[in-house]
Amino acid sequence: MSVNLALTTDNTVARLAPRPSQTQLALDDLTTGIKSWWLWSTMAWQDIRLRYKGSMLGPFWLTISMGIMVTALGVLYSAIWKHDITDFLPYLAIGLLFWNLISSLISDGTQAFIKAEGILLQVKMPVTIHAMRSVVRNLIVFLHNCVVGAAVLLFFSVPQSLYSLVSLIGLVLILLNGFWFTMLVGMMCTRFRDIGPIVASLTQIVFFLTPIIWMPNSLGNKLWVMYLNPAYAFLEIARGPLLGHSIPLPVWAMAFGVTILGFLVTFVFFARFRARLPFWV
């Protein structure tokens, strides 16, 4: 029986199937990862449950703090910018609602794999699961915050039509981009720990450069500058339809362009570095 333990190399090699290519392994990771919906959805809900354990309101705490922020900023800034509050407050509320989703997707994305260290080193699991977990967790928080958006739209009776549903395309685009961003930048942040803080300060800058607490028409004939801002594209596709704004073509082009390019770059990167992730955490 002792021969069983170590066969000569030639015998063993002959029996083994060739290893699949890195591209194939990356594709397998993505497909099995996305198919395991029960896994990442349970993990995301568990995150929410643990984060708000012991507080009666749960994630609605965030909703309340957002409600307070929207009211305070809405009143203050409509006075500063001399905007009509019935225009400005719904604009601000919907803008912040989607911006909070974008910025939390970014900040959680940079941490997604670092926080999953315990799992990455103990269990074999598609890497994609950790990215899905982060995206779904933020979607759940977003859905809670939607209460504020809906309340403001009702209170100021902003007219809605079928066209408002275009906003859902904006939401889907934000989530898709959150996914590739988490896969790509999340992995980079695991390898180089100083990228996370850099991303965080850039996010802060983008917040001020994007029309959220100010209105784009303040730019006058320089509005085209905003067409170069990807954050504006995603935000406007999600926000505009709810406020009855039409979306200009360059905005659509930017949003779809960034999405497609992001997925391509991420896939190449992921296929190249997927197997290294356990060494990085």
Binding site: S2, N4, L5, A6, L7, T8, T9, T12, V13, R15, L16, A17, P18, R19, W38, L39, T42, M43, Q46, L50, K53, G118, I119, L120, L121, Q122, V123, K124, M125, R191, F192, R193, D194, I195, A275, R276, P278, F279, W280
Partner: protein, 258 residues
């Protein structure tokens, strides 16, 4: 039938320390490679350890194999390769059978979640559906003997209690290949006996156990076959008694039959 085959597995393990974790410093120091020793070398800004060198072996159903060697010999790394966590740098690996690995006492546990939550979560990590785990949860809970503690966060557990929980979860889900690192021995004798009974019944169903330890006593008790590792290579393999005898002398065998 569970079955493991490794052919010429090598693993180069990059170690990232403070300096190489910084993007800025990595860019500044690009291209300064220095080679130092056989097992540890420099690749650009970070250190590379040759954690496994040309490891070939075959483990068949019903075997209990022990990995023996000093700290840093590559035992835990080999377990992680078997678990599919590390992909080898070169060589081929084929593992047939559902693997359950007890590599770390936490098993990827969420310290703030309760014992019951962890049964669910870790079952999910191992590829089971929520329904399957809910069916198994009572028997897992019973095996741990933790009682009401299962309603408390795992953070409050002693290491022996975490160990019981991890062991109960890892073995209850009927793996075909069980990989264990030596920390399992942290528990009390009574639970250890219970754990051994479970492993015995598990191995008798033609499953595989691979246990890493540097304790000859434990390996003599648990394993029928040993692989002695040093600096990432297999020094000797064979029956427990003969390998242990050689291991105690501290000298590698003169000629290892291939």
């Amino acid at each position: 039938m569970a079955d493991i085959t490794l052919a010429n597995i090598s693993l180069r393990f990059p170690l990232y320390r403070d300096n190489s974790r910084s993007l800025k410093r990595s860019l500044l120091s690009a291209g300064k490679a220095i080679s130092r020793s056989r097992t540890i070398s420099k690749d650009g800004s970070h250190t590379v350890v040759n954690a496994l060198n040309n490891v070939s072996c075959r483990i068949e159903h019903g075997e209990r194999v022990g990995l023996i060697g000093t700290n840093g010999a590559g035992k835990s790394t080999l377990l992680r390769v078997l678990a599919g966590i590390y992909e080898p740098t070169s060589g081929d690996i084929q593992v047939d059978g559902r693997v359950s690995a007890l590599l770390n006492i936490g098993l990827g546990a969420d310290p703030d979640a309760t014992g019951y939550d962890n049964i669910l979560l870790r079952g999910l990590y191992m590829g089971f559906t929520p329904a399957e785990i809910r069916k198994l949860a009572p028997s897992i809970a019973e095996f741990t003997e933790l009682g009401d503690f299962l309603d408390l966060p795992v953070r409050t557990y002693s290491s022996g209690m975490s160990m019981r929980l991890s062991f109960a979860i890892a073995t209850a889900l009927q793996p075909e290949i069980l990989l264990m690192d030596e920390w399992i021995m942290a528990s009390d004798r009574r639970f250890l006996n219970k754990a051994r009974d479970r492993v015995d019944s598990f191995v008798s169903r033609s499953q595989i156990l691979v246990l890493a330890s540097h304790s000859p006593q434990i390996l003599a008790q648990w394993c029928t076959r040993l692989i002695w590792m040093d600096s990432g290579s297999i020094v000797m393999h064979g029956e427990t008694d003969s390998v242990l005898k050689q291991y105690e002398t501290g000298e590698p065998p003169l000629a290892q039959a291939s």
